[in-house]
């Protein structure tokens, strides 16, 4: 008596969950890529967990009737691991609209990923794009800070150089006039011989006679 019913149920299930069926989603897992040596084997227990997570996501949607694990159907499991799943309504006659399933899964994507120790790339829901976390951006871009520092240093250096240049210029213009004053004062007392004041001739430092300057010193030796 129960056998025909059983066959009917499986037939209906087979119809509801098929590759490219309406409201069906393909899932692809890359366990070995994610975990390497610590990869677990995909068996029916893992499938059970998956169905539980999908049911959990659907239950979290407000104003939706309680979804049971038995309402989530899996089919076409390959070695990859990949499979298709659908979520049926309590009557198990038709599947829930894809949009609802999609939004439910997106809301709880993180929890589903964590349950399997995978991430958005290794647990792929084809046709359900995942939302990336926003990048960490400080309020002021770092390059502006560094720029500000360098620019301030440059401005300070330029100002210092200009000021020192002005000071040197002023010193040069004052210097020769100072020497002139002392010369005027000394002129009355300096002894003059042949029109040349004696003083410079007696100084120990003496003058440099440019005639005897060798060319070597004027040019950088090659």
């Amino acid at each position: 008596m129960l056998w025909p019913l059983f066959f009917l149920m499986t037939a209906i299930h087979a119809e509801l969950c098929q590759p490219d069926a309406e409201n069906a989603f393909k899932v692809r897992l890359s366990i070995r890529t994610a975990l390497g040596d610590k990869a677990y084997v995909w068996d029916t227990n893992e499938e059970y967990l998956f169905r539980a997570m999908v049911a959990f996501s659907m239950r979290k949607v407000p104003n939706r009737g309680a979804t049971e694990i038995s309402h989530v159907l899996l089919c076409n499991v390959t070695q990859r691991v990949s499979f298709w799943f659908v979520v049926t309504d309590p009557s198990k006659n038709h599947t829930l609209p894809a949009v609802e399933v999609q939004s439910a899964i997106r809301m709880n994507r993180n929890r589903i990923n964590n349950a399997f120790s995978l991430n958005d790339h290794t647990l792929e829901f084809l046709k359900i794009p995942s939302t990336f976390a926003p990048p960490m951006e400080p309020s002021v871009p770092i390059w502006i800070i560094i720029f500000g520092v360098i620019f301030c240093i440059v401005i300070v250096a330029v100002t210092l150089l200009i000021l020192s240049g002005i000071r040197q210029h002023r010193r040069n213009t004052k210097g020769p006039s100072g020497v002139d004053d002392t010369e005027d004062k000394c002129e009355n007392t300096i002894a003059v011989e042949n029109g040349i004041p004696c003083d410079p001739l007696d100084t120990k430092g003496g003058h440099i006679n440019e005639v005897f300057l060798t060319e070597e010193e004027r040019l950088t030796p090659l």
Partner: protein
């Protein structure tokens, strides 16, 4: 550089000429001025445009027969006559005064765009102070479901360069807006240049020890690192196998000849650096391409994970293509060839930036390396930039444009301000295209013409014997046969033939450029476009206007002489009449 004659004589207008502290400083300064962005930025992208090894042949020929003889002439004549670049030519012959003025104009044009490259370097330097580096990831699109499509197509580094740095437009006539971040960096760059140029050679003499030697240290480290990565051998063999048909293009010879002016004999460092970066990034791109194809196959046919090793990929693909061709045809499988990645990874002025930033990404401690590298590049460019500015400022001082009361600092400030205002056009969205134009046209032809006149002027007008006597007096040795042969015959002939070939080429084929257009079907390949008419006119003007100083000044001198003779003749006849009256 053509303005290297300044090295022989220094501050002008003062009684006591400053000189270098010692021979080492002088040599290092020569190296520092000669080594610059020309080696690390310009040489690699020229090399790649003309297919690697083939470019080295005309480069060496130009170096031996043009570069070194010319360099020697400039240093010797500069040291002998001890005048500024204007004074030297007036001393040799008043009719050649135009060469000095022309060099001054070219220096001005070159400094505009050379500093813009420094602006880019500064931008990268400022952005290197973060972890992870900003060019390692793509930004997310608006609804945060994926990456920006342009970035996905082109790769993170290219996207950072073309979009986030330049914000480049798809066409040169589409100027776009000023990019405020580049504008800020430009202000900082010109301020730094002004800071260095205020005091002149006294301060740079000390800094040159660092700025000339440090780059070689860093480049050696990069070279060693690059050579130890897998795929280095293939990349190097690819780069050093010359493609002989490129030698028939006169543009190669012209670029080789002018590259001499930008980097004298030290481009080897840049070339090897380039060779060491390109292979690893190309090989990793190849591996990435293969992996992507394999993943597509695995996903489509639901094979178990990691079931197709990279080496088996071709056989598996063949087998699948035979059994289920329709499903394979639907997949977006790309052909993965190493040559494609070596050829099309990047080109143009952005080459150095894209290649080096990619190389830095793959190193451990990427942030530190990036800071080091871009800091080095900045100091390199700055030391060369200093030579450029001296080529602009010294002639202005010689000509005595400003009255005596105004200090030198004001003049240099004014010059830097004018250059800065003129260079702001490079911060537009089409700025990179304009920079390429300036790089290709402003310097090349003019420098060839001036070099020709330099050789002819010194050897034929000043006199070969007199020049050789001067060199013997300065160094104690008479120049040998190689020098005399190249000065007399080979250099002028080589320069003249390159010049003529280039004119013919320009008339024959309209110049074109490669534009970055995200809407292009073959994106990320660049789209080849012709320059519009008004841009071609600007190219021609840039190529020839600075050279017009030479005939212009010669003509002016001739007219002056004629007028003088006519005046003298009139005076004489007037005096005769007077004398006659008093007979």
């Amino acid at each position: 550089m053509a303005q290297v004659s300044e090295l022989g004589q220094l501050e002008d207008g003062e009684d006591e000429r400053p000189k270098w502290d010692n021979k080492v400083q002088y040599l290092l300064s020569c190296i520092g001025f000669a080594v610059g962005l020309g080696n690390i930025w310009r040489f690699p992208y020229l090399c790649q445009t003309y297919g690697g090894g083939a470019f080295l042949i005309p480069y060496f020929i130009a170096l031996v027969f043009e570069g070194i003889p010319l360099f020697h002439i400039e240093l010797a004549i500069g040291q002998r006559l001890r005048r500024g670049s204007l004074g030297v030519w007036m001393a040799i012959s008043p009719y050649l005064g135009g060469v000095g003025l022309g060099c001054f104009t070219v220096s001005f044009l070159v400094s505009l765009y050379y500093n813009t490259v420094l602006v880019w370097v500064l931008w990268f330097f400022l952005n290197s102070f973060q972890h992870p580096l900003p060019w390692s990831t793509c930004p997310l699109d608006l609804n945060r479901t994926g990456f920006v499509p342009e970035c996905q197509g082109s790769g993170t580094v290219s996207y950072f360069w073309y979009r986030q740095t330049l914000n480049i437009s798809a066409d040169i006539s589409d100027s776009g807006t000023f990019q405020w971040w580049l504008f800020l960096c430009m202000v900082a760059c010109w301020a730094i240049v002004y800071l260095c140029v205020i005091r002149g050679i006294e301060s740079t003499g000390k800094a040159i020890y660092f700025t000339a030697l440090f780059p070689y240290l860093v480049l050696t480290i990069f070279l060693v690192r690059g050579l130890t990565l897998p795929g280095a051998a293939e990349g190097l063999t690819y780069l050093f196998t010359p493609k002989m048909q490129t030698l028939q293009n006169p543009r190669v010879w012209l670029d080789a000849a002018t590259q001499i002016f930008f980097s004298l004999s030290l481009a080897f460092g840049g070339h090897i650096a380039f060779a060491s970066y390109n292979p690893p990034s190309a090989v990793s791109a190849l591996l990435f391409c293969l992996c992507r194809n394999i993943l597509s196959l695995i996903n489509e046919f639901d094979f178990p994970e990691q079931s197709i090793p990279r080496d088996d990929y071709p056989t598996v693909l063949l087998h699948l293509n035979a059994t289920q061709p329709e499903r394979v045809a639907r997949l977006p499988l790309k052909a993965c060839h190493l040559e494609d990645f070596l050829d099309k990874s990047a080109s143009g002025p952005g080459l150095a930036f894209i290649i080096f930033t990619e190389a830095v990404l793959n190193m451990p401690g990427a942030t530190g390396w990036a800071i080091l590298f871009f800091g080095m590049l900045f100091t390199l460019g700055l030391s060369s930039m200093f030579g450029n500015m001296e080529g602009v400022i010294t002639p202005l001082l010689d000509m005595g444009i400003l009255p005596k009361g105004i200090p030198k600092e004001a003049l240099t400030g004014l010059v830097c301000l004018m250059c800065f205002l003129s260079a702001t056009c490079f911060t537009l969205q089409s700025g990179s295209y304009w920079l390429e134009i300036f790089d290709n046209f402003a310097a090349s032809l003019n420098l060839i013409i001036f070099a020709f006149f330099e050789v002819v002027g010194v050897i034929y007008v000043y006199g070969m014997k007199r020049f050789c006597d001067d060199i013997e007096w300065m160094t104690g040795q008479r120049p040998g046969l190689y020098w005399r042969m190249t000065w007399y015959v080979v250099s002028p002939l080589l320069l003249l033939s390159i010049f003529l070939a280039y004119i013919i080429l320009l008339a024959h084929k309209a110049p074109s450029y490669k534009a970055w257009n995200p809407q292009y079907e073959q994106f990320p390949l660049k789209q080849e476009k012709l320059y519009p008419g008004w841009v071609q006119v600007i190219c021609v003007l840039l190529s020839f206007l600075p050279s017009l100083w030479v005939p212009g000044v010669a003509l002016a001198q001739l007219l002056c002489r004629q007028r003088q003779k006519w005046k003298d003749a009139q005076l004489e006849s007037g005096l005769k009449l007077q004398n006659g009256r008093h007979c």
